[in-house]
């Protein structure tokens, strides 16, 4: 894994591009040769001989010519006659000029790298083939993400091959403030290409005038930080870091409670009881993938599993996974925490962790009846939660945050939460302040400062990197921008901000350039390029170096590689007796440095003065909640089809955002699913389709941000409605949640594309649940043991028998696997129109069923892919043997044999087969196809496809093991979905190997069951029951046959 290798890629790229160029020429010489073949004496001789050979020769078995003589001759003549139809595409093979020693054709190379999505850092393993990245996977050595990679992380690859990417630096001839600067008015004629040197000169000139500001998103890269510092040093520029969803309330809360304004890191695996007030830590809050892993670690051992209580305004992924979920509205968040404080500090008298203020008790007294204030069914609800929190004293965790908690009282909420954690003694153990998330230092306050300065004309040059402020902030920022002399933007697309910038210094894509990232204090990972930059782009690191005009060694670097090395040499790798070089190569190999803090820090005493005197407020009317989605986040990656078509983790809707309202509200407004409604927020009106969401508070209207892009590219532009205008900038903070909103039904119909047809289990034993109590009494509670009688002998598997086990208790439905599968198996994107017709192509889907009362429904998740049945119903009915059973238990799908009768999918009880209704490949634009995995065929129109258990991975592993001459052992093969699963819910392996995990799951795990087992398709996929750590409820009353897996 040499650091220089990316310089060797040029011939590969050439070769690649050549190979990709459609070859239309046909080889006429070939036809000539064919005719000659006919005239060829050899052939003539043969033909005659055949023709004359006597039938007697049929006896002598020498070649059996006689028997087929007539036909062979006929064949020959026909072949001659129809030479014309023998045309074949002539393919060219372009070898390397100089053989790069690390490249073996057809052998994938993995490079360690890293990606920062604006909030979470992932360690990456970039899988490259012939010098082009084809798949991103999590790097197992990374302390936080530990092999997991979010859906967005997986899909980020596609943005490298995005046809809408800018291909070089651009210069806008239009002066700022011109009339025409309005959206769309600007034509390409006015946005011209420019050479890097010209751009640098112009920017440098602008910077030298002074009053330079830098606006960036969260900067996790130590090198970039250093660069910017260096830049500031020489230009006196001011740096503002800001993301629309930056957790500055969290930082401010920490500041107020403990005096240090850093966002701590959290340890959900250490917590026995977790209370989340709108912090969607499994979905979008701070570092969700890492949290998913930690959360699962805390629940993997069912007996000692942690308890998750969620107070949810929007129906979040966290709420869906909670053992107890309470629906609240934003104005009640504070009440919840104060209520808990009352129970713990006043009733439970645990105030050791607080700098106690006598007045606090009076304040808290008002929250004695929090449950009533919240209008919860159970008047003891809050105190019950408090009880379990206190039971888990020191090992519990209370979190609040995310945009849903970005109310006007966001900081107060944080202070209260800090008080709770300190009082419970969680601080320093589950709240790891010792290892803060240094990157998440975005500040809306500073942004406001910048915009003020811009409006006052105090900003001469503005350099924008890694954030798209015009999209996020809209007109306010547009106006401010017009007062800025020179705007430099480093984005990759001609997006909302780029079109208003004078210079677009196009940055490398993450897989094209060098970089690094600091996930949490002291945990570093390095970003390696894995492909020669596809276009005339340049790392932003060099940009700052060139523009600063500083004389520092850092500013003198010629490549981003040097810059990173330099910073790492000075700051990160302290080369001791072992030289830097060795360590450096180790780092490149491993990809990460540093580890998570293991020891427990002292509990900090939390100041609570800010809380004194606040009163429970009874707010009435609808309240708005704005939230980022798992698939699109803040909306930067809106132009990636994989993400647009990734079903929302809870609603399962694709290609749209919508206003979620409760059933009662829908009833009241007389709207049904998809009807357009109008939100009126302080006079600002937004038309948006309504989605009726079970388990939502009646006063809540939840809308997701990240949609309604106006300039994201062909895919993302105009998808959904932009909700950012609904964000209120108030006293130096962004208010995403709790604004009062008026609703009006418009009577307009609109269709929301939902990939799931029906949302309850109709009393069928599909996702089997049990409470922890029931589990402790009966390890296989809820699982009905069917007495299956068959007259057929079972298949015999002498070698391997591939099987998969899915633990529904740890699966959180995060959907990373869906995109991983799509990327690994070249699964096409079909678009909203066809999803509406029920033609989505995902090989693995995550079914979400609602259980219980619709008004406060709970949710369960179940990943479903081809079950590779031993008695596969699809196999018997295919008339052409296009789907058959392998001797290793795989249900094989042979694309090139399939004629597409679709009988197999009709006969499949799981309906996991996907049919190519059209030639989806044709819909793709170059160079998107470079993201294809060459080991998996791209399916044509009219053939069936489905999950193959990543048979290509099984094969390649077998081959490489054969070469190494060693036996296969469990874990050698990791299928795509399993590889990226943060919770380890998916286990794949050889069930014939008694050492394998999957064998244990199948044979020993009492929770394990097969889907529709009584059907006796004998699937090779088994699920483990979901356990709810909530003993107040009964899911499987005794003596009731487990068919009713679903509770009333």
């Amino acid at each position: 894994m040499s650091d220089m290798n990316h310089h060797d890629h040029s011939p590969e790229i050439e070769a690649m591009k050549k190979a990709m160029r459609p070859q239309v020429e046909t080889d006429d010489r070939y036809w000539r040769s064919l005719e000659q073949w006919g005239k060829d004496p050899e052939f003539q001789k043969m033909a005659e001989q055949e023709f004359l050979s006597s039938p007697l020769r049929e006896e002598d078995r020498e070649d059996g010519w006689a028997r087929r003589e007539f036909l062979k001759l006929m064949g020959a003549s026909l072949a001659l006659g129809s030479a014309g139809c023998l045309r074949r595409p002539v393919q060219k093979i372009v070898p390397y000029a100089k053989q790069p020693e690390e490249v073996t054709l057809g052998q994938a190379l993995h490079y360690s790298s890293t990606w920062f999505d604006g909030s979470e850092t992932f360690g990456l393993l970039v899988k490259t083939k012939e010098g082009r990245p084809i798949k991103l996977e999590g790097n197992p050595t990374h302390p936080l993400s530990a092999g997991a990679l979010s859906a967005r992380g997986q899909a980020m690859l596609l943005s490298c091959y995005d046809p809408d990417r800018l291909q070089g630096p651009k210069h806008n001839l239009q002066r700022q403030g011109d009339e025409k600067t309005k959206e769309g008015a600007r034509s390409n004629a006015e946005t011209i290409s420019i050479t890097w040197s010209d751009l640098d000169d112009k920017v440098k000139a602008a910077v030298s005038i002074g009053n330079t500001w830098i606006l960036t998103g969260h900067v996790a890269s130590p090198t970039l930080r250093q660069m910017i510092k260096d830049f500031q040093g020489s230009t006196k520029a001011q740096h503002v870091a800001w993301e629309p969803t930056s957790p500055d309330a969290l930082a401010k809360g920490q500041e107020a409670s403990y005096g240090t304004g850093l966002v701590p890191s959290y340890r959900f695996d250490r917590a026995r009881v977790i209370v989340s007030v709108d912090a969607d830590f499994l979905g979008t809050w701070l570092t969700p993938m890492a949290f998913n892993k930690q959360f699962a670690d805390g629940r993997r051992d069912v007996v000692g599993m942690s308890e998750l209580v969620s107070f949810d305004t929007n129906y979040s992924l966290t709420g869906a996974n909670a053992d107890k979920r309470f629906k609240i509205k934003p104005s009640q968040q504070l009440t919840v925490v104060m209520g808990l404080l009352h129970e713990i500090v006043v009733k439970g008298d645990m105030s050791s962790g607080l700098s106690m203020n006598p007045a606090l008790k009076q304040t808290l007294a008002a929250y004695a009846n929090a449950s009533e204030l919240l209008g919860l069914k159970d008047p003891q609800a809050i105190s019950k939660v408090a009880q379990s929190l206190m039971k888990a004293k020191g090992e519990s965790l209370v979190v609040a945050g995310g945009t849903a908690a970005q109310t006007e009282d966001a900081v107060l909420l944080q202070i209260a939460v800090n008080a709770l954690n300190s009082a419970l003694g969680n601080d320093g153990f589950t709240v790891v302040y010792g290892q803060a998330q240094v990157a998440l230092n975005g500040s809306t306050e500073e942004l406001m400062g910048l915009m003020a300065a811009m409006n006052e004309g105090k900003v001469n040059t503005l350099i924008i990197h890694g954030v798209n402020p015009v999209y996020f902030l809209g007109d306010a920022f547009k106006k401010a921008l017009e007062k800025v002399e020179t705007v430099v933007y480093t984005g990759s697309h001609m997006d909302e901000t780029a079109i208003r910038a004078d210079f677009v210094a196009v940055d490398h894509h993450n897989v094209e350039g060098w970089g690094d990232s600091e996930a949490v204090a002291g945990v570093y990972s390095i970003q390696q390029p894995t492909i020669r930059p596809m276009y005339d782009t340049r790392s932003v690191l060099l940009g700052f170096a060139k523009w600063s005009g500083s004389s520092s060694s850092l500013a003198k670097v010629e490549t981003d590689f040097e810059a990173v090395r330099m910073v790492w040499k000075e700051k990160i790798i302290n080369s001791g007796e072992k030289g830097f070089e060795d360590l450096w190569y180790d780092v490149l190999q491993k990809g990460t440095v540093g580890a998570l803090r293991s020891q427990r820090d002292a509990v900090r005493t939390a100041k609570v003065d800010a809380l004194v005197g606040i009163k429970p407020e009874a707010k009435s009317g609808f309240e708005l909640v704005l939230y980022p989605t798992v698939q699109l986040g803040q909306g930067e990656l809106a132009n990636i089809g994989w993400l647009q078509e990734l079903p929302d983790v809870v609603t399962k809707i694709v290609w749209d955002n919508y206003a979620s309202i409760s059933l009662a509200t829908a009833e009241k407004l007389k709207v049904s699913e998809g009807d357009k409604i109008e939100l009126d927020v302080d006079g600002l009106k937004v038309k948006i389709p309504a989605h009726i969401q079970p388990g939502l508070h009646d006063d809540v209207v939840a809308v997701s941000i990240g949609y309604g892009r106006t300039r994201s590219g062909k895919v993302g532009t105009g998808i959904g409605v932009d909700a950012y205008p609904l964000v209120l900038m108030k006293n130096k903070a962004a208010v995403f949640s709790g604004r009062s909103v008026a609703l009006k039904a418009l009577g307009e119909k609109y269709q929301l594309a939902n990939v799931q047809g029906h949302h309850t289990m109709e009393g069928r034993a599909i996702v089997i649940e049990a409470t922890l109590k029931e589990y402790l009494e009966n390890k296989s509670a809820g699982v009905h043991k069917h007495h299956i009688f068959t007259i057929w002998p079972h298949h015999r598997y002498d070698g391997h028998k591939w099987a998969m086990s899915l633990d529904l208790n740890t699966c959180t439905g995060c959907s990373a696997c869906v995109v991983a599968c799509q990327s690994e198996n070249n699964v096409p994107i079909v678009g909203k129109k066809f999803v509406l017709q029920g033609r989505e192509m995902h090989w693995i889907r995550i079914d979400r069923y609602y259980t219980g009362e619709p008004a406060d429904a709970e949710a369960v998740f179940q990943p479903v892919m081809c079950q590779h049945c031993d008695n596969a119903p699809c196999e018997t009915v295919c008339p052409v043997l296009a789907t058959v059973h392998s001797d290793e238990g795989l249900n094989e799908m042979v694309y090139n044999r399939c004629v597409g009768t679709r009988y197999c999918v009709n006969n499949c009880p799981y309906k996991v087969r996907r049919f190519n209704w059209f030639n989806y490949r044709k819909e793709m634009r170059n160079p998107e196809h470079l993201a294809f995995n060459p080991e998996v065929g791209v399916r044509v129109r009219g053939v069936m496809e489905k999950c193959t258990f990543c048979v290509q991975r099984i094969k390649s592993t077998k081959d490489s093991l054969k070469q190494q001459g060693r036996e296969m052992k469990d874990g050698d093969i990791k299928v795509a979905c399993q590889q990226t699963c943060p919770t380890g819910a998916i286990v794949f392996g050889d069930v014939n190997d008694p050492q394998s995990q999957v064998h244990k799951k199948f044979k020993e795990e009492p929770r394990s069951y097969a889907l529709i087992e009584e059907f006796n398709a004998a699937p090779a996929v088994r699920y483990q029951t979901k356990i709810r750590n909530n003993n107040e409820r009964t899911i499987n009353p005794r003596h009731e046959e487990a068919k009713k897996g679903e509770h009333a």
Binding site: G757, H758, L881, G900, N907, Y910
Partner: protein
Amino acid sequence: MIKRNPLVLGNKTLKDITDDICAPVERLPSGGWLAMFLSAKALFLYYIACIGVLVATGVGLLGINNPIGWGTMIVTFVFWIGIGHAGTLISAILFLFRQKWRTSVARTAEAMTVFAVMTAGLFPLLHTGRPWLDYWLFPYPNQRGPLWTNFRSPLLWDVFAVSTYATVSIVFWYIGLVPDFATIRDRAVNKVRKTIYGALSLGWRGSARDWSHYEMLYLLLAGLSTPLVLSVHTIVSFDFAVSNLPGWHTTIFPPYFVAGAIFSGFGMVITLMTLVRIGFPQFKDYITLDHMEVMNKIIMTTGLLVGYAYASEFFIAWYSGNPYERFVFMNRALGPYAWAYWTMVSCNVLSPQVFWFKKFRRSIPVMFVVSIFVNIGMWFERFVITVTSLHRDFLPSNWGMYGWTWMDSSILIGSFGMFFTLFLLYLRLFPAVSIAEVKPVLHVGHDTHGGHHG
């Protein structure tokens, strides 16, 4: 002995018969026929165009999706195959049972069979994702190892069943035509007609040898095609019954399908016969109200059989105690496709009940309307079986609805264009009633001397 109603009215002589039946072939077409033919042809051409588009772009143009993998194409296929049954039943089974009344309707009914099967045969070939590879459905020696077909797949049985049925009924029909072709040839005045019908009549000379061979062969073919009447639709029903989808996986399907087929077949025969009587008034004497009445009786009987099948399906679903079965049938009657189900029931079970009354059995308008209802009802029966079973099966997460498109409508309607184009051509070019068979039954119902009475 009871006096039987005459099978041929209007005190015909043998010559009259020949003249009457050959007339349409020898006359120039009437304006009415021309109008009907041209409209049918236009529809047929549109049908061809649609199929072209379908093959060029993909079956995605139809409303099928996941979970509903089969739609209009298969529904209409089963519909037409069903239509086909009456013909063979009348010409073969009734022949073996020596039912004299069959003679005047057999020819046309059989023509209907042939054309219906031709129309139907296209669908299974066209509904595949890659129609140009359909030949893989046939077991033929190849260079793939060789790679054979899957003989366990009902779809393959279908291929054999339908192709056999098509071949046999065409041959049977053609053999019956030979003597009549000869008649036309002999009457022919112009050269062209003489040559063509001469060729068609395969050198028939009407010698005693010819006749004895002919009758022997006809008997044999009748015996051969009789089991086919039962086998074809039995095997078509296997497409569903052998799968294991609730609502398909039912043992009652074979008899149920055959009954339904005969039901729908006779429905179509009535529709066509009424039209023939209108189009060619002289045929009223051969296709008499008595013929129509007998067929109406059959419609009523088979209608009741079908109704019984519907009922017993529900009973079995309940009796089996299989929750999925139960759900599927409740969903049929009460689910989103209830309208289709009740259309089916009212058309197939209720409407034929009017035939309890002789008055209606013998009323042309009534029987025409009912026969149309029967056709509609039987199409919906196949729709209900195929689509409503598929659209809600085991896992609620992948339930869905059929997305009917303009292409579905075009394919359905267009297929009628194809059928009627062929049928109308037949009426003009072939003797629509078997001359050779009617003549022997001329005297049935007349007193022994026959002939004229003052």
